[in-house]
Amino acid sequence: MRKGIMKTITRHSIKFSLMAIMLYGAGSASAQDPARLNFEKLNGLEAKARDVVEVNIDGKLLDLAKRVVAKVKDQDAAKVAQAITGLRGIYVRVYTFEKENEYDPADVDQIRAQLNAPGWERLANVRSKRNNQKVDVFTMFSGDKMDGVAVVISESKSIAVVNVIGMVDIELLVELGGKLNIPRIDIEKDGEPKPKK
């Protein structure tokens, strides 16, 4: 009888451990933000573009940056600190090409296709025949809470994709857009005394 009980315990132990591993794996998979876009298709544009801007800020780097912004005694920085309180990540890709139509529009359309997934809502859609410009702005909300923003701008000579994860004050960002000056911050260099102000 004891053998039977031990066999049952062994069998259930194996089942529980397998379930725990599967649940952990599922949890890890779902831990990736739903508002996060996949920029893999754009990696091939790097070789073709004249100028490339790629910025990925999340996790510890973002936390560090937030702390620095909070400490900077600058009017704009204070507004920025207020705007990015709920920010979880920000990903930017900007490609500028020498000539027109040097990239495959299908690559950008693949990014736009991700924004057709449930959860994303179109905020703005602008099409202009001038420079073959297409502008799309999408937002994702879970209830009343903003989960993300995506901006996709494609022209004949440039592509810009911005993916913001988390809550961000869009109006404030628009107000500060192009006006954000990176203030001079002195860094101690090895062996060099810092000049007194």
Binding site: F16, I57, L61, L64, I153, V164, V174, K194, K196
Partner: protein
């Protein structure tokens, strides 16, 4: 019939011997008794330490424990880091410089968090590199020198500002586009 032969097999009895020979195929053949284990012979009072029944539950317990620990570390690591850093900040001495109204960075480089400049945009580097960078950033202490941001902090700040600047400018562009279209529409309506 003599009874001695039947009793102790002594003497001779032809009739009995005849019967015995005819029934010899049914004779009892004694065999050795089966060897019983000590536990069985003692009525299985002792516990059976079958290795199989110990290892598998132990392994399952280790796996479940590892999964729970992983989940706990994931959820609490950020809280722990925030608590440590808030503790570090509370220990920093208060500094004030009335001469510069826009003083930046009351950060002691010795207490800089473990974040090293990433190899590529947005990544995180080796903690040993972070330690080396931190030591380089500290330098010799001099009297009256204000502490400034570390390289890691400046890098993070610059990257964030760049990303926000680009985001803001693109959003502004969209807003201008939309506003421009609205102006065109109202203009065409007024003409009619």
């Amino acid at each position: 019939m003599k009874d001695d032969y039947l009793w102790d097999n002594t003497g001779k009895d032809s009739e009995i011997e005849k019967i015995e020979s005819s029934l010899s195929m049914f004779r009892y053949k004694p065999i050795d008794a089966p060897k019983l284990s000590v536990a069985e012979s003692e009525g299985s009072r002792r516990r059976i330490w079958d290795l199989r029944y110990v290892l598998v539950p132990a392994f399952a317990a280790i796996v479940i424990g590892a999964v729970v620990a992983g989940l706990w570390f994931r959820t609490s690591s950020d809280e722990i880091v925030a608590k440590i850093e808030s503790g570090i900040e509370s220990r920093r001495p208060a500094q004030s410089d009335p001469a510069t109204g826009d003083k930046i960075g009351e950060i002691n480089p010795q207490d800089a968090p473990l974040v090293s400049p990433p190899h590529k945009a947005g990544g995180q580097g080796d903690p040993r590199v972070a330690m080396a960078n931190r030591k380089r950033a500290i330098g010799p202490k001099r009297k009256g020198v204000e502490p400034a941001l570390t390289r890691e902090e400046k890098y993070a700040y610059d990257r964030l500002m760049l990303a926000l600047s680009i985001t803001g400018s693109k959003l502004r562009m969209v807003q201008d586009k939309v506003n421009g279209l609205e102006v065109e529409k109202t203009g065409s309506k007024n003409e009619r």
